[in-house]
């Protein structure tokens, strides 16, 4: 009946803050931002607590709010980028890496990282460089990758969530990987 009575907001921080913070942090990889997202979630929850129907647990309900906020954040970050990356004519997309015939330009051609890259799969240095390069990548790509590997969403769901077309999705992934590899090679 009066569903808001089932809500005990004064216990939210004690019971859910750590969980929600962890949920946000693994998706945005930024402590400050994760804090803000959790705060926004609690405040939104308070405002809409009358709509809580008690069909799911309080935690599930709050997590859904948080997830929507994370997706909003992804979209906001991506919207500026879409203009730069996706609406540019296709020829300009990878112009840095390939010549007019679509062949690797000399200065961007792949060179071996090291003789034994595979054995270094677990080497700390290797991962440090990669994480550094991942941070430099366009935010849209980071969002796509987080949806793919943390939420384990299918690509069509990701496209829908991020409001990108399927073909743009592949262009973005291709472009991101070229940049990532280039960054990795330059820093190794």
């Amino acid at each position: 009946m009066n569903s808001s009575r089932n809500i005990q907001a004064n216990k939210w921080v004690k019971e859910y803050a750590d969980y929600l913070f962890h949920f946000a942090h693994q998706r945005v990889d930024d402590v400050e931002l994760a804090n803000d997202l959790v705060q926004d979630t609690f405040l939104s929850g308070l405002e809409s607590k009358d709509s809580f129907e008690g069909r799911s647990s309080e935690l599930t309900w709050l997590r859904t709010i948080l997830k929507n906020k994370i997706i909003d954040h992804y979209r906001k970050q991506a919207s500026g980028l879409n203009k730069v990356m996706v609406n540019v004519p296709e020829q300009n997309e990878t112009v840095d890496f390939f010549d007019e015939n679509g062949i690797w330009k000399n200065e961007f051609a792949p060179k071996p990282f090291t003789n034994r890259a595979d054995e270094k799969l677990h080497a700390k240095e290797f991962y440090k460089i990669l994480e550094l390069c991942m941070k430099k990548l366009p935010k849209l790509w980071a969002a796509v990758f987080s949806l793919k590997h943390i939420d384990e969403e299918e690509s069509n769901v990701i496209c829908e969530t991020m409001k990108i077309t399927n073909s743009n999705y592949w262009v973005i992934i291709h472009r991101a990987k070229l940049n990532l590899r280039e960054c990795f090679q330059n820093n190794w």
Partner: protein, 101 residues
Amino acid sequence: MIKNKLIRNTIINAHAQGTCKHATFLIEKKENTRLTFNEWWVMQLHLAICPLCTLYKSQSQLLQKMMVNIFHNRKDRTISMDEAKKEALEKLIEERINNDM
């Protein structure tokens, strides 16, 4: 007949679509989904003649594996919210509740 046609198509494909730009695109697509037979074939043809893209492919796969590991670790790592932040948040919520009443 069929064989001739296949060979002809192969040669046409190798010239028309066999750029490094397109091949690397297909390499990335394959990491994420199944290629059509035609796409796969174009990619294989290009890789057979291009050592740069062959190197790119192995590097791309290595980076992909590492990235999956990074996200895995991120999933497992447990970081709690800062205690001071929690206190402030608790106060904020309390204020909102009191204002409501």
